[in-house]
């Protein structure tokens, strides 16, 4: 029943001791606290139904049901605390795990997820997402970027230039995320920066999701002629989501400076043995 938390001088992330899932993020500098439930889910890929024979494939995202299945309702959790880093290791299943990490001095939470090989022996193609659930009153709106330049406001079940008849409540609200997606209630902002382009959405107020991996059994009939299916055991993917909790006033500066650091990350080169230490501006 004791509290599981990782923290540094700026942030604290608390985990539910019963489920092992992330349950709260606190920004101590700005005195902000947000209950957040984060976990992994999967949508069942459609292989065609009475409404349409369109299958989910590389070009098409079309889930069978609108509610995703949880990969697991709880995670085995293990905390590691050193002077430089505090980590929570979460194991959701044999094919899904995550490290939630806070480095000393860091103002964001790092979620390093490892997903795959996605099992498909049950005959279902799967599209795996990471979902953050909060109580933020977002009024059906969320924001995604275009190559880190223009950030566009997205409104659920709405298009700004025509009257939309929404026939795909999940896929019809998914948008490209090149570097970041965020939700806000006007006071607080939850921003997630990605390390690669992904699909993302906010299907309910206060919720935010990003697709991290998919493995499908049927071709979508858009010209490739092969299902999005690796031969052998399948691919496993590792990536990072950087999570920022800020006041709306501070948020833009935080996510823009952090995104610069991620996109233009330092490059490492190693050399064996000794040599002169060097510091070259």
């Amino acid at each position: 029943s004791h509290v599981l938390a990782i923290e540094n001088e700026h942030l604290r992330a608390t985990f539910d001791p019963d489920t092992g899932l992330l349950m709260r993020i606190e920004n101590m500098d700005q005195n902000l606290s947000l209950p957040v439930n984060q976990g992994f889910f999967w949508y069942t890929a459609n292989t065609g139904d009475a409404e349409s024979d369109q299958a989910s494939g590389a070009y098409i995202f079309r889930p069978t049901w609108y509610q995703p299945q949880p990969v697991s309702r709880w995670a085995q959790i293990h905390l590691v605390k050193t002077a430089l880093v505090q980590e929570a290791h979460q194991n959701f299943s044999a094919w899904c795990s995550q490290v939630v990490r806070l480095y000393q001095g860091q103002r964001h939470l790092e979620l390093e997820w490892t997903v795959g090989p996605i099992p498909v022996e049950d005959g279902w193609g799967k599209e795996v997402i990471s979902r953050f659930k909060t109580g933020l009153k977002t009024k059906g709106q969320f924001y995604t970027d275009s190559n880190g330049r223009e950030i566009l406001k997205r409104r659920r079940d709405y298009r700004p230039t025509w009257r939309l008849n929404q026939t795909e409540p999940v896929a019809g609200n998914y948008y490209p995320v090149n570097t970041r997606i965020y939700i806000t209630d006007g006071n607080m902002q939850l921003t997630v920066l990605t390390d690669r382009s992904q699909g993302g959405s906010s299907l309910k107020d206060g919720s935010l999701e990003l697709m991290v991996h998919r493995r499908l059994l049927v071709d979508d009939g858009r010209g490739v002629g092969e299902a999005l299916m690796e031969s052998g055991t399948g691919e496993w993917v590792r990536g990072r989501h950087l999570v920022l909790l800020d006041s709306v006033k501070e948020a833009a500066a935080s996510h823009r400076l952090l995104a610069e650091k991620v996109v233009l990350a330092p490059q490492l080169v190693l050399a064996q043995g000794d040599g002169a230490l060097y510091h070259a501006p």
Binding site: V85, E87, L270, A271
Partner: protein, 172 residues
């Protein structure tokens, strides 16, 4: 001879064909991967040449292509190695470096020869047992420049020597 043209051309082919996962047949995807790999080789040489020229010393540089999955033979097996960190941003950056190592204690020195705090952390059990340990240290890089850090594995003997050295009075 270093050259970035083959990688530029490979990237151009991929971008032209929207080489996103699943949108090509497997043998075509394999060919995209082949073109990228072929292009990357001469790019590494180009980068090595540039770093050697800037630092004024030629080194046999190694690039960790699988660092994202915690695999780097050089850092895992070497008793001593140098880490050159290039910062492409136009402002000073502080960064936590993570390198796969085998279990042990390490001494990390910054460009001024000062020891910097480091930790060795264990990776979760779901990862490969062979690559369980990572060395962490905080590095600082100047704007559009690079810093070279040194890492040495401490054995019983040099660990004792280092402890004696750090506990001796400063005037010595």
């Amino acid at each position: 001879v270093g050259d970035s043209t083959p990688l530029k051309e490979a990237m151009a082919v991929l971008q032209h064909h929207d080489a996103v996962t699943g949108t090509s047949r497997q043998h075509v995807a394999n060919d995209y991967a082949r073109q990228l790999a072929v292009g990357w080789g001469p790019c590494e040489v180009l980068l090595s040449n540039a770093l050697a020229r800037l630092s004024g010393s030629k080194q046999n540089f190694s690039f960790c292509r699988e660092l994202n999955i915690s695999i780097c033979p050089l850092s895992r097996k070497s008793a001593r190695f140098q880490v050159t960190i290039y910062n492409p941003l136009g402002r000073k950056v502080d960064w936590i470096v993570r390198l796969p190592v085998s279990q042990g204690i390490f001494l990390v020195k910054d460009p001024n020869g000062k020891t910097v705090p480091s930790n060795v952390v264990m990776l979760p059990s779901s990862y490969s047992k062979e690559y369980q340990w990572e060395l962490l240290f905080s590095a600082s890089m100047p704007a559009l420049g690079f810093s070279i850090y040194s890492v040495a594995r401490m054995t019983g003997r040099n660990l004792q020597a280092h402890k004696m050295q750090s506990s001796s009075p400063k005037s010595n």
